[in-house]
């Protein structure tokens, strides 16, 4: 394939993604002959690290898989283990887990929109450069991000690797005065979230429609966070325990993240897939806002992901206010756990999509085997498929620099968390 007249470009590191990956592109006779999202973030082997640990060690351990979405890891884990042990967390815990999860969505989505994605849409190298010309846009994002972090810290002491979650509940219930002080700040931020949604909808986004399958959780009454069935835009509707029968992970030579496929086909998880499948579950205020933007969901334009992310920030603020307005201090912030042997499943909505855990536990409550499927390994094949279509429709005759930037933009739009999946984007274009 590599002829002497091939043109190769190496970009050593893709910027503004979480983790390290490389993009390899081979162009032959004006067509893409091969495209690979190469991920060589070194594996940290969490599934092995968990073996032999007591069940109560799991939340602090799995948090370390991702600094940006530790709550997601903790939530999928505690739901899996409590389900297996037959523990009923009750209404207080159910509400408070949704509230802390809202904090992670606000934080993670704000970080992505402003620090990682927005420079692409406005033509800057970084949010710091963007802040010199558009200080209010960046500052609004940083304020929302900080608010999300503070909501996590209310329940966990800190936003990165919070220490509050345990199997069975929380180690400590927040003090009512701290909750009401935060609720006031959440309420005060609603106009900022509204302005953010309008701003994302006003961005000059590329308008390419693509065919893809959306996959997300769906709950009978709520916008999904901690619970639901796994559904798809192609009619799939299964319980979370059946995930591994329908979605299969396989290794590809160019990646330390396993690729996950649905019936052998790529699919999308994350904010756009969630809004596509659950817009009827958004609270009325968020739905009204959505209608005002003029963006129609379900959308086949991948760039509407940024609008979906902003809508989810608005949802998360609204939902956290609803849940915390009724706050009361429980008798205990956790339920007692009696371990038993068996297999437990957990699937919750990480900011980047479905995060699926499976634990096999022995009678003493020790982990025998763990399996974790993060959102980014599910999106990897979809990103490659998107890159192929997006770059061909963008025009392969364009300069390497243009192709590189567009390729990076496509990838960043998915908010890949490569540390989760396993980190490096260097783009190589071979022209033959």
């Amino acid at each position: 394939m590599t002829e002497p007249r091939d043109r190769t470009i190496n970009v050593p590191l893709l910027a503004r993604v979480e983790g390290e990956g490389a993009l390899e592109l081979t162009v032959r006779a004006g067509r893409i002959a091969d495209i690979k999202l190469r991920i060589f973030e070194p594996p940290r082997l969490f599934e092995k690290v968990l073996e032999g640990r007591d069940y109560f060690e799991v939340p602090d351990m799995v948090a370390r898989i991702c600094g940006i979405c530790p709550i997601a890891y903790q939530m999928s884990a505690v739901h899996a283990l409590e389900g297996l042990f037959g523990a009923d967390p009750g209404p207080w815990l159910r509400a408070m887990r949704r509230a802390v999860y809202c904090g992670e969505w606000i934080q993670s989505h704000s970080l992505h929109i402003h620090l990682l994605a927005a420079p692409d849409f406005l033509g800057y190298e970084s949010a710091i450069a963007l802040a010199r010309d558009h200080p209010e846009v960046v500052r609004r994002g940083l304020r929302l991000q900080a608010l999300g972090n503070d909501l996590i810290a209310l329940f966990g002491g800190r936003s990165v690797h919070p220490v509050g979650v345990r199997v069975g509940g929380f180690h400590r219930a927040p003090a009512p005065e701290d909750v009401s002080a935060l609720v006031e700040r959440l309420r005060a931020a609603l106009p900022e979230a509204e302005a953010l949604v309008r701003w994302t909808a006003s961005l000059d986004l590329p308008s390419e429609e693509q065919e893809f399958t959306s996959v997300a959780l769906r709950h009978p009454a709520e916008y999904p966070l901690n619970e639901g069935r796994i559904v798809s835009s192609a009619g799939l509707d299964i319980g979370i325990g059946a995930f591994a029968q329908v979605f299969t992970e396989h290794q590809v030579p160019h990646s330390t993240a396993l690729h996950c496929l649905h019936d052998g086909r790529p699919y999308l998880v994350g904010p756009l897939a969630r809004v596509n499948l659950n817009q009827d579950r958004l609270p009325p205020a968020t739905r009204t806002l959505l209608q005002e933007t003029g963006v129609r969901f379900p959308s086949r334009n991948m760039y509407h992901s940024v609008v979906a992310r902003a809508l989810e920030i608005h949802f998360a603020l609204t939902e956290a206010i609803r849940l915390l307005d009724d706050y009361y201090t429980p008798v205990t912030p956790f339920v007692e756990i009696r371990p038993r042997a068996g297999v437990g499943f957990g699937a919750t909505c990480a900011p980047r999509g479905v995060l699926w855990h499976r634990y096999e536990v022995d009678a003493a409550g020790r982990i025998v085997r763990a399996r974790i499927v993060p959102p980014t390994s599910q999106n990897q094949a979809r990103i490659e498929e998107d890159l192929r279509r997006a770059l061909e429709s963008y025009g392969l005759a364009r300069s390497d620099a243009e192709l590189r930037l567009r390729g990076e933009t496509v990838i960043r739009n998915y908010d890949p968390c490569i540390s989760c999946a396993t980190h490096f984007l260097d783009l190589r274009v071979r022209r033959e």
């Binding site: 991702c66 600094g67 620090l115 710091i128 345990r166 290794q251 030579p253």
Partner: protein, 261 residues
Amino acid sequence: MNAKPKIAVHKFASCDGCQLAFLNLGEELLALAELVEIMHFAEAGPVNLDAQVDIAFIEGSVSTPDDLVRIQKIRANTRFLITIGACATSGGVQALRNLADGREWIASVYAQPEYIESLATSTSIASHVKVDLELWGCPVSGRQVLAAVRALLFGVAPVEERDKVCMECKRTQAVCVLVAKGVPCLGPVTRTGCGALCPRFGRDCYGCYGPAENPNTEALGLRFAGLGLLPEQIARRFLFIDNAAPVFAEAGARWRSAADD
């Protein structure tokens, strides 16, 4: 140091959580960007792997053949090298593979282990190059990182916290969870810096800031045994986030061999 020092933030094997000590600074991130020139910080945007800088911050542990080469280059290109977090400072939670058969672990997760370029071990930055300052914590906080930058900007040696979490509990008047609840708290041997977060949440410290100065792991292990923990459970208390920090590694090995007897 010059009027506008140059900094770089590099990532090795990690969860990206310590880089968030910068990215979560909010307004202060914009202020920092005025005080220093950010030459390389891929997650924030600027990419220049080979830039000459005054301070290089390193997140993550050395775990691939490429890492071995990269860390030498970074050291050669910086005046000060600061590790941020447990992975860079002690090898991180992923150093647990050093105690097992790392190759076999990779083979059990990946169907085709020959495609995985990974060393059998995960090691701290200091096991490969000279480190000027180690910031412990899983994760480090923005306060720690800014304090280090400020000290270096003023040309003074950064203050290193080596006290125990226990001391922090006393200062903040947190109730001792080891005494009051009988939970196996690592506070008596763990370095402070977190503000005694776990005890203030009514739970046991799990040692994420690494060993404090003069830690008595032997006495604490015996105390845990008195609480009813089995030797293997005591070993796992030490063999957690900072399992490869020598003090914790030795304590873990002692209790693990007691478990095997």
